[in-house]
C-alpha cells in the first residue's frame, strides 16, 4: 500500500485540510463513523510489518503520571512504527512533579516539545483539564476512575474482529463497575453502536455509577449473579474486584467467589461467546479458562498497537 493510497481514505477532514479530531478525553468524543474508521485503519496497520513514515518529524509525548506497562508501551511502539519520535516519562518520580510542579505547568512544558500528548493521571478529570491548557491534542490514557477511551476502542475492535460487527451483540460486564475506568469508557463507546443489551453484573457495593448510566441509550440490566444471565451473553467483559474497595472484609470474602470466571461459569457460556479483560488480571479469571476458545483477552491485548497506530494517525497525520 502506498502512502498516497493510504491518505485520507476515511478521515474526517475539516475545510483547512486538518484532521478534525482535537482531543480524546472521553469515549463520547468519537462518533460511530470515527470508531469504524479507526477499526478500518487498525485492520490496515496490522497488515503492515515494516516501519511507516507518516509521522516522521512529529514528536509524541508520553506523560504517564501514573505507572503503566502495556498502555505506555503500546503507544510508544505505535508511535515508533509510524515514524514519530517518542519522548516523555512513565512515572512521576523521575519528573519535576516530584519537586511539586503542578499538572498545568507540566502540560505547558510538554506543549513546547511535542505534537501530541498521551496522558495518564491518577486524578479524575485530569485529562480534560490538561486539554483546556494544551494547544496540541491530548489523548487520555486513563484519568483516575473516570475514563480510558483508547482501551474501549481496543475492546470494541476485538468484538468487531471476532463478530464482524458490534451491533446486535449482548454484553455482560462483570466485576467492579464502580471504580473501573475501562467500564465507563466501554459503556459510553457502546452508545455509538446498537448492542442488543448490556448486563451489568456486580456486587451491590460496586454497581456502575449513576453519572455513567444516565447517558446510555441501549437496554441495561443490572444483576448481582452472573449465573442468572451467562447463557445470554456474547461478550463477557471481566474486571477485577479489589479487596480495598470493601469496608468490611467479611463482605469481600462472601462475594469474591461469585465473580471469579472459572470453568463452572465458562461451561455455561454460549458456544461462540468470548471473554475479554482489559488486563492486568490477578485471579479473577482461572488460568484453566485461558485454554478455552472463549478466552480472547490475549488476542485483545495484541490489538493495542494497531488500534493506537490508527488513533495517532488520525490525530497527527494530515495536520
Amino acid at each position: 500500500m502506498s502512502e498516497k493510497e493510504f491518505k485520507y481514505t476515511s478521515l474526517i477532514i475539516n475545510n483547512k485540510g486538518f484532521v478534525a479530531l482535537k482531543h480524546l478525553i472521553s469515549s463520547f468524543d468519537l462518533n460511530r463513523d470515527e470508531y469504524i474508521s479507526i477499526f478500518e485503519y487498525a485492520d490496515k496497520f496490522s497488515m503492515v510489518k515494516s516501519k511507516l513514515n507518516y509521522l516522521q518529524g512529529k514528536v509524541i509525548s508520553l506523560a504517564f503520571f501514573e505507572p503503566s506497562t502495556r498502555t505506555a508501551q503500546s503507544f510508544h511502539t505505535a508511535g515508533l512504527k509510524l515514524g514519530a519520535d517518542v519522548i516523555g516519562f512513565t512515572s512521576e518520580e523521575s519528573t519535576s512533579i516530584a519537586k511539586g510542579e503542578n499538572l498545568a505547568d507540566t502540560i505547558r512544558m510538554l506543549n513546547n516539545y511535542s505534537d501530541c500528548i498521551i496522558m495518564r493521571h491518577k486524578y479524575d478529570g485530569a485529562a480534560l483539564f490538561a486539554s483546556e491548557i494544551s494547544n496540541v491534542p491530548i489523548i487520555n490514557a486513563g484519568d483516575g476512575k473516570h475514563e480510558h477511551p483508547t482501551q474501549a476502542i481496543i475492546d470494541l475492535y476485538t468484538v468487531y474482529k471476532i463478530f464482524n460487527e458490534v451491533d446486535g451483540i449482548t454484553f455482560g460486564l462483570l466485576g467492579d463497575l464502580k471504580y473501573a475506568r475501562t467500564v465507563n469508557s466501554l459503556l459510553r463507546a457502546l452508545t455509538r453502536f446498537r448492542p442488543k443489551k448490556v448486563f451489568l453484573i456486580s456486587p451491590s457495593q460496586l454497581k456502575a455509577r449513576r453519572e455513567i448510566l444516565d447517558n446510555l441509550n441501549y437496554p441495561v440490566i443490572e444483576t448481582e449473579n452472573p449465573y442468572d444471565v451467562i447463557q445470554e451473553i456474547d461478550v463477557l467483559y471481566v474486571t477485577r474486584i479489589q479487596k480495598e474497595r470493601f469496608v468490611d472484609e467479611v463482605e469481600y470474602e462472601k462475594v469474591k467467589e461469585s465473580y471469579i470466571v472459572d470453568m463452572k461459569l465458562v461451561n455455561m457460556m454460549k458456544k461462540d461467546s468470548i471473554i475479554l479483560h482489559p488486563l492486568p488480571r490477578v485471579n479473577e479469571i482461572d488460568r484453566r479458562v485461558d485454554k478455552t476458545p472463549h478466552a480472547k483477552y490475549f488476542f485483545q491485548a495484541s490489538l493495542a498497537v494497531p488500534v493506537r497506530m490508527a488513533l495517532l494517525y488520525k490525530f497527527l497525520y494530515g495536520g
Partner: protein, 159 residues
C-alpha cells in the same frame, strides 16, 4: 392580627439605593450573603429578615443591602440555593429593575467538587466547574470528574 407585609414594614424600613432580595426560602438568607461575599465588615447597611410569613412560599427570608447593586452573575448564583427569590434593584426608593433569575448553565469556582480525587481538588490551577443538569430538582455535574451534586450539597457547602 397584622398582615405579613405590615409586619415586615415594622421590622425594616425602605432602602434608598441598593438591592432587595425577597422570597428567599426560610433560613437561607445567610447563605445568600455568603454567595455575595458579604461578611458584614464591608460597611454596607444590611437588613436581614428571617422566617417571616409569605403568601407565596409560606415562610421566607428577605435581604436588603444599601449601596450595593448585585449583578446578573451574582443573581444567577443565588438561584442555586434560592430558586424562588426575586431580586429588585432600588434607586432613590424606587424599583428600577427586576433581575432575571435563571440557574446558570455553568458555575465556575463557587462550589467545591465533593470527590476528593477530582483534579479540581488537587491542582492549584484547576478551578471547579459545574454544569447544570436539571433545575427542579437542582442537579449539577462536575465538568471534570462528572460527580453529581444536589441542592442540599450546595447549601451544605455554602453555609
Amino acid at each position: 392580627m397584622m398582615n405579613s407585609s405590615k409586619q415586615n414594614e415594622l421590622i425594616v424600613s425602605k432602602i434608598k439605593d441598593g438591592t432587595v432580595i425577597d422570597h428567599i426560602p426560610a433560613g437561607r438568607a445567610l447563605s445568600v450573603l455568603r454567595i455575595l461575599g458579604i461578611k458584614g465588615d464591608e460597611g454596607y447597611r444590611i437588613a436581614l429578615v428571617m422566617n417571616v410569613e409569605s403568601k407565596k412560599i409560606g415562610r421566607k427570608d428577605i435581604v436588603k443591602i444599601e449601596g450595593r447593586e448585585i449583578d446578573e452573575k451574582e443573581a444567577s448564583l443565588i438561584t442555586l440555593i434560592a430558586p424562588s427569590a426575586t431580586i429588585n434593584i432600588i434607586r432613590n426608593y424606587e424599583v428600577i429593575e427586576k433581575r432575571k433569575m435563571e440557574v446558570p448553565k455553568l458555575i465556575k469556582g463557587l462550589i467545591k467538587c465533593p470527590n476528593p480525587q477530582c483534579i479540581t481538588n488537587n491542582d492549584i490551577e484547576a478551578l471547579s466547574k459545574f454544569v447544570t443538569i436539571s433545575v427542579k430538582p437542582l442537579k449539577l455535574k462536575c465538568a471534570y470528574c462528572e460527580t453529581y451534586i444536589t441542592e442540599e450539597d450546595v447549601i451544605r457547602q455554602i453555609l
